[in-house]
């Protein structure tokens, strides 16, 4: 009933106000880059050309349907050929197409040709997460679907009304939230180098009008110069397997000062992580970090309780209870449906593998970051 009310009000809103049209997402976003605005203009131009042609063609068609019907006694004419008419309706569309092709070509060349970028970010698609590297700044991190979205998705399936409200509360950010946001400075020309580690993904941020395939073994590039500070969301736009719908993109466009502060903070954290990887960790620390990482990276297929689902059970598995070498190999390098997790840091891998070997009643050995380093 509530859904029905929403639907009715949506329909009412659709016909009643232009503001509501925007709210219900009827049209392409204008975006926050010059290119995205050009694309929007192009889209609207072609749309209106289609509307005008449609009005003429359908107008003639419906006039004919109404006026030239047998029931009103209309007698059929017998003309059936005119070279002149055919000539006109071949020629006029060609002229219209040329008129559309000129701005389209100009925009396309703007998009594809970039002389100089202020900074570069490498984007790597993984099944099913994004990795961002800032090669100059030395920053690298993984961006996963936020735990809140995962919880809401599962809870929704269980159908309890309070949990349903929890999902509704997430609103427009449901499935469009990640744990680590990509952060970029405003008014800066950013070159994105886009590639993949496994299958083809596609990195799409509608507000930037950047959508580029991430091909394994090849690097594509795209660029954007965001002009408005804010948070922008996108999604993978190429079917990449089971969790294709669950690898969103969130970009924070921040002021240049905030960006500098963020870079310093990230660099500090990276140094601390590198230091930690050389240390001997306690089992409790490994287990605590491992549980978080397991739920982010592994539970989608192996389930939170390790009972297995799309992937095999970890609970009681011979791999998790046996020698650590085989376990390290499969997590680092992947096998068949199991993706490689070599992009995780040594401490993270040690933690998640230890968790798999010691949780769910498993009795495998503890794995230290140094074991991961030597297994790579």
């Amino acid at each position: 009933m509530k859904r029905l009310l929403t639907l009715t009000s949506a329909l009412v809103a659709l016909v009643s106000s232009k503001a509501a049209l925007a709210e219900y997402g009827l049209n392409m976003t204008q975006g926050i880059t010059e290119v995205s605005k050009d694309i929007y203009d192009l889209h609207m131009m072609v749309f209106w050309v289609c509307v005008v042609i449609g009005a003429v063609v359908f107008g003639a068609m419906f006039y004919s349907i109404i006026a030239h019907r047998k029931s009103t006694g209309h007698k059929a004419a017998h003309f059936h050929e005119s070279t002149m008419v055919e000539f006109i309706w071949t020629g006029v569309p060609i002229l219209i197409l040329i008129a559309m092709a000129i701005p389209a070509s100009k925009t396309l060349i703007d998009i594809e040709v970039l002389d100089k970028a202020d900074m570069t970010i490498k984007v790597t698609g993984h099944q099913w997460k994004w990795q961002y590297d800032y090669p100059v700044e030395g920053i690298s991190f993984i961006s996963n679907l936020a735990q809140s979205s995962k919880d809401a998705m599962d809870d929704r399936a269980k159908g309890s009304s309070e949990k349903r409200e929890a999902l509704d509360a997430q609103g427009d950010t449901y499935l469009l939230s990640v744990d680590n946001h990509l952060v970029v400075p405003v008014d800066t020309t950013i070159r994105f180098l886009i590639t993949s580690n496994d299958v083809i993904h596609n990195w799409w941020v509608p507000a930037f009008a950047v959508k580029q395939d991430a091909n394994p073994g090849f690097i594509n590039d795209a660029w954007a110069k965001p002009t408005v500070i804010g948070t922008y969301r996108g999604q993978c736009a190429e079917l990449c397997g089971k969790e294709h719908g669950f690898m969103p993109i969130v970009v924070d466009v921040v002021s240049k000062a905030d960006y500098a502060a963020w870079v310093a903070e990230q660099q500090g954290a990276a140094a601390a992580a590198a230091e930690a990887a050389t240390q001997q960790w306690s089992e409790d620390d490994l287990m605590a970090l491992g549980e978080t990482l397991y739920n982010t990276n592994c539970a989608g297929c192996h389930m939170t309780d390790g009972s297995g689902g799309y992937g095999p059970a970890i609970k009681g598995s011979s791999l998790a209870n046996g020698d650590a070498v085989g376990h390290l190999d499969i997590v680092i390098n992947g096998k068949n449906g199991m993706p490689s997790f070599k992009m995780l840091g040594d401490s993270d891998l040690a933690a998640v593998i230890t968790y798999e070997r010691r949780a769910f009643g498993n009795t495998g050995s503890v794995v230290q970051p140094s074991d991961v380093t030597s297994a790579r």
Partner: protein
């Protein structure tokens, strides 16, 4: 010729079920194709219902994402290879010999074979659902390496099924070319042929050109998966983007394989019910040939985002836009055929008019998609889903339904229930738009295709779309009833049940005799029945 006539008297169809297994008769085989296609349409439609049921509300309610991907994949494959293509081959089998004044198809035994491969290919494809790891889940476009290194074991069965479907299509195409070129009544010139025959002849050449390319693509997949080659694996020196080039070199002609015969069907129905000859017969033929030619040189417009150089993108954008010209000519010709006609609106005409209207909407979104910069925002969103369903459902499928109502009296000698057919038309017409029109908005608002769950701003239009889908799905129960009711209880139909229908098929009885023309029609009859008289 009197020998043949006497011969016919004691050689009707064989009795019992074996008739359908052993038959070499174009009408029997045409019916087999049509019923097979209809069965597959219902199966593929059931998959679509599953997809729309999951998408009815946000959250994962009914299935896990992997099964959702299996459904989208199999929905596409079954609809393209199991429903639309066989339905057109069925129409071609039934109609082409009658339209060109021939007794049967040129290669009747091969005709039997090309049909009977299909149930096995379809069966193999569907059986993958029950295999370990499930059915193929990489989309009907099966991009490598998701379909090679990362695919379930059942993919090899999928490859085999695609090979079989390809054999069947190529044999069907050879048969139609041989029939049109060799079995045509001696007095019928090429430019006397009805447009359905023309469009199918051109489609046959597209099939012969495109299907072997698909066979090549899946064979490379097979060796990549099983024999250590690396055609599509960058780690071995291959290129995953090459897969897409090969696939779309097949795939783009393929979409015209599914729409050119539809153009033919509509070019028969509109003149009949407008009581006026088809406008611009020869320009229709040239436009069809132009579309077929262009279809081979635009394939990479499906790949604007793969990282093509800008010169390539510009070329494919221009070539793609060019397709709007001959397609536009066709639409203008249909409207000019209606203009100053004396129209009535029996079911076939309703479907044909609705085809012109809705297919043109699909054409407009196609033009928008062809604009390469804008395609950045449209690509792989629901805007694309809306576009190709407007051209394939309200285009190709619409024409098949139109053709069924138009020629059903000829096929079974009985008339369908006009009142029910009109109710069914409006039901399908409204629900299909409720189903697909909101998907334009979803795509523009940023919803990617092939996702089992979505953010809440997409919830309302998905809900509307799903309601439309269930309603549209139910309309096929009514279609089944109307057709079965016609075959069983319909009133006897006249040889020419539509007063101003033209075409040699109407000079035969209703139902048409088991062997169509034992003596070829005369020049006078051919001219009398031609579309440009």
């Amino acid at each position: 010729m009197s020998y043949t006539a006497a011969h016919d008297d004691h050689h009707g169809p064989e009795k019992g079920l074996l008739r359908w297994v052993k038959t070499t008769n174009h009408k029997d085989i045409g019916s087999l194709y049509m019923w097979f296609a209809f069965t597959m349409l219902l199966i593929g439609g059931a998959f679509a219902m599953g997809i729309r049921a999951e998408l009815l509300q946000p959250g994962l309610q009914l299935m896990d994402p992997q099964f959702f991907n299996q459904l989208t994949t199999m929905h596409g494959l079954i609809m393209v290879f199991g429903a639309i293509m066989p339905a057109f081959v069925g129409l071609g089998n039934w109609l082409i010999p009658m339209m060109v004044g021939a007794p049967d198809m040129a290669l009747p035994r091969m005709n039997n074979w090309s049909f009977w491969i299909l149930p096995f290919a379809g069966g193999i494809l569907l059986s993958t659902f029950f295999m370990e790891g499930g059915a193929p889940a990489f989309g009907w476009t099966f991009y490598a390496p998701l379909s090679t290194t990362f695919a379930p074991d059942s993919t090899d069965f999928f490859i085999f099924a695609v090979h079989l479907l390809g054999f069947s299509s190529i044999m069907g195409a050879i048969n139609i070319i041989a029939t049109v070129l060799n079995m045509r009544a001696p007095e019928m010139r090429l430019m006397d042929m009805p447009l359905f025959v023309w469009t199918w002849l051109i489609t046959s050449f597209l099939l012969i050109g495109a299907m072997p390319v698909l066979a090549g693509a899946v064979t490379m997949m097979l060796t990549d998966r099983n024999f250590g080659t690396a055609f599509f694996d960058a780690a071995g020196g291959g290129d995953p983007v090459m897969f897409q080039h090969i696939f779309w070199f097949f795939g783009h002609p393929e979409v015209y394989i599914m729409i050119l015969p539809a153009f033919g069907v509509v070019s028969h129905i509109i003149p009949t019910f407008a009581r006026k000859p088809l406008f611009g017969y020869s320009s229709m033929v040239y436009a069809t040939a132009s579309i077929a030619f262009l279809s081979y040189i635009v394939w990479a417009h499906h790949m604007f985002l793969t990282g093509m150089p800008v010169a390539g993108e510009l070329y494919f954008m221009y070539a793609t836009m060019l397709i709007a010209v001959p397609t536009g000519v066709k639409v203008f010709n249909w409207v000019a055929t209606m203009w100053k006609g004396s129209m009535t609106f029996e079911a076939p005409m309703l479907w044909a008019l609705s085809f012109v209207f809705l297919f043109t909407i699909g054409g407009f979104s196609g033009l928008m998609l062809g604009i390469a910069p804008a395609d950045i925002q449209y690509h792989d969103t629901y805007f694309v889903v809306a576009h190709f369903h407007y051209v394939l459902v309200t285009g190709a499928l619409w024409s098949i339904i139109a053709a069924t109502f138009y020629w059903l009296p000829k096929w079974c000698g009985k008339m369908y229930n006009e009142k029910l057919a009109k109710v069914h038309f409006w039901w399908a017409m409204i629900s299909v738009n409720v189903l697909f029109f909101p998907q334009h908005f979803l795509g523009l608002a940023g919803m990617p295709r092939r996702i089992p769950d979505y953010s809440l701003q997409f919830a309302d239009f998905n809900f509307i779309s799903s309601i439309g889908a269930f309603s549209f799905g139910l309309s096929f129960i009514m279609l089944t009833y109307i057709v079965v009711d016609c075959i069983r209880n319909g009133k006897p139909a006249a040889a020419r049940p539509w007063e101003s229908a033209k075409g040699l098929e109407w000079t035969l009885g209703s139902p048409a005799e088991y062997h169509s023309f034992n003596t070829p029609p005369s020049r006078a009859v051919i001219l009398e029945e031609s579309q440009h008289s």
